[in-house]
Subunit: 342 residues, 2 copies
């Protein structure tokens, strides 16, 4: 059986219809629609009346063509389903709201070939600006893109493009995380690292080292373990650590996701958090307030980053210059860390 699917053909009403009905020229209609140059009050009203009467909506496709703009901002993100990126996306949404521009998301999955395809999609779609959320596209390529299109890089430094990079103070955040543990009396502090050549991981390592150094503790390589910023990798890394039987009383995971994984192994091995092991994470992902116990962590201002990236790209498009701040982090003390006791 064939189902007939009636789709009302909506008749297109154009600027000419309005012009005719209002007794003016199309240009005048355009002028009042866009508020570009003054128009006599009586004509303006006539136009507005006609617009209302015919429920006229300018054809964006036509506007885009003639203006040579797509009114879209390309967002090269890495993961469209993660809570972390999700919050950044929300910030971007917010920042673009009422600007007339809309976000066009393409995802790279931290995977160069995909990212390149995604970037290609963006240029094909002729976006008016690009916000890149970190990723693995080589600096050189990023610079090339930035040379032809307004671009903001969020969460990563690109050499020679520092003024268009929006980043958090990783070192400070990581330093504070480690200090928090130190202040609680912990000495044997595991560092659960993220992807090694990743900028965030590098900087956070620095913060950890600085804090340890200031506490006159030397860094035990046995306490440094590697993950990939994923739950799974955190779980695996800590599992191996436990098998090696090295003593520690606290752990700093370079992000909350890995902390979740770590927390699960500890649970499975009968180690209690925080009674036996204290854990601090990084990011303050939305879930972290509801884990058991709620996770102490360093807040990554994701929403703020998205918001600022959006505002900045709009300025760049307008030809204005931007001054991007180094976004601050914040220690959020919850229940996964306690004072060290024998």
């Amino acid at each position: 059986m064939i189902i007939i699917f009636p789709m009302q053909k909506k008749e297109i009403i154009t600027i000419h219809d309005i012009a005719r009905k209002a007794g003016v020229s199309p240009s005048t209609v355009s002028r009042v629609m866009n508020n570009t140059v003054p128009v006599a009050d009586n004509k303006r009203e006539a136009v507005l009346a006609a617009v209302a009467a015919l429920n006229y909506r300018p054809n964006i496709l036509a506007q885009n063509l003639v203006r040579g703009r797509s009114m879209a901002i390309g967002i090269l993100t890495q993961n469209i389903a993660s809570p972390f990126y999700g919050e950044i996306h929300q910030g971007i949404e917010q920042g673009l709201k009422d600007s007339g521009y809309h976000p066009l998301f393409v995802v790279g999955n931290w995977h160069l070939p995909e990212e390149l395809v995604a970037l290609e999609t963006l240029t094909m779609r002729q976006v008016d600006g690009i916000i890149m959320l970190a990723g693995t596209i080589p600096d050189e390529r990023v610079r090339q893109v930035a040379a032809t299109t307004p671009l903001i890089m969020a969460g990563r430094w690109v050499k020679g493009l520092e003024q268009q990079c929006l980043q958090i103070d990783n070192i400070k955040g990581s330093y504070e995380a480690t200090c928090h543990l130190l202040q609680l009396g912990h000495r044997r502090i595991v560092l659960l690292q993220g992807v090694l050549n990743h900028g965030d991981a590098v900087e956070r390592r620095l913060g950890y080292e600085q804090a340890m150094r200031e506490a006159n503790l030397e860094i035990d390589p046995q306490l440094i373990i590697d993950g990939q910023f994923t739950r799974q990798s955190g779980l695996l890394a800590v599992e191996q650590l436990l098998n090696r039987n090295v003593f520690f009383s606290a752990m700093f995971a370079m992000n909350d996701e890995m902390a979740y994984g770590a927390r699960l192994v500890l649970y499975r091995r009968g180690l209690r958090v925080p009674e036996d092991i204290s854990i601090i994470g990084f990011d303050d992902t939305v879930q972290s307030a509801y884990t058991t116990p709620p996770l102490t962590t360093i807040r990554y201002p994701m929403f703020e980053m998205g918001l600022q990236a959006a505002q900045a790209i709009l300025k760049l498009i307008q030809g204005e210059t931007v001054i991007l701040p180094l976004l601050p982090t914040q220690l959020i003390v919850r229940e996964s860390t306690v004072r060290y006791h024998q």
Copy 2:
């Protein structure tokens, strides 16, 4: 100080340039670019050569205008940062990949005014099709939209539009969740409900009742408590329940988020999961495998739903008819549920 920001002016090369270089007419170029009608081999090659030489990319904005299509699919979603919707979005991404269409996300936040604005944005942007992810827009309005634009509704039934609705088997899933608990010997099973007039909540209630009835248990109103599908609401509801001192050994939360909230209160009150209380959720959000203990739940095929919604909308746009399946759920037994023991 004013920073000069040099933006290379990329010179636009058009179909005419190609035509000239290939010694053919623009129409012919268009024909080979779009493979619409046969073109003599030698001319085709000349065109292709010119395209390659000049690195020509058709101007999508112009194509859109003349074709009267935006090549965008509007996605009216409720939350751009939630892992639940996130997975659906991923499915949509996937389904739209290589179709030439791209998703245009607008968010409604389960808030009618916002949803209406979002919908307006979509029509203003002249999307070629719409995927609505549930939400609170009245059925009547949805039908109106569907009358003028290809539309798929995911996660909700709309009367008279059933063929365009993609939904899961809520009753069965909920029935199985309850049966799971019943089979483990639980009798006093709390039902942590979601928003009352929400279709999913209504259907899941039905599944619970059916299972209880078949087990010859009558439903104790004291065991039915209300949440809003959020972590916070789950926490509050269970807190109140605990204060009322009614006995129960298991709980079925209508979604995982509420289960997280519930789990946290229990933790705070010193009640162990699963030793004292068994919990089963619904959705199988990405986090659920990493809570402590990992959460037993009913899998909601989010990715699949997104994928199918995308494929369906593409067919609808092509004028084809679609037959949407009732998506199955699946019981995922993890560690938050155990056999009841005195």
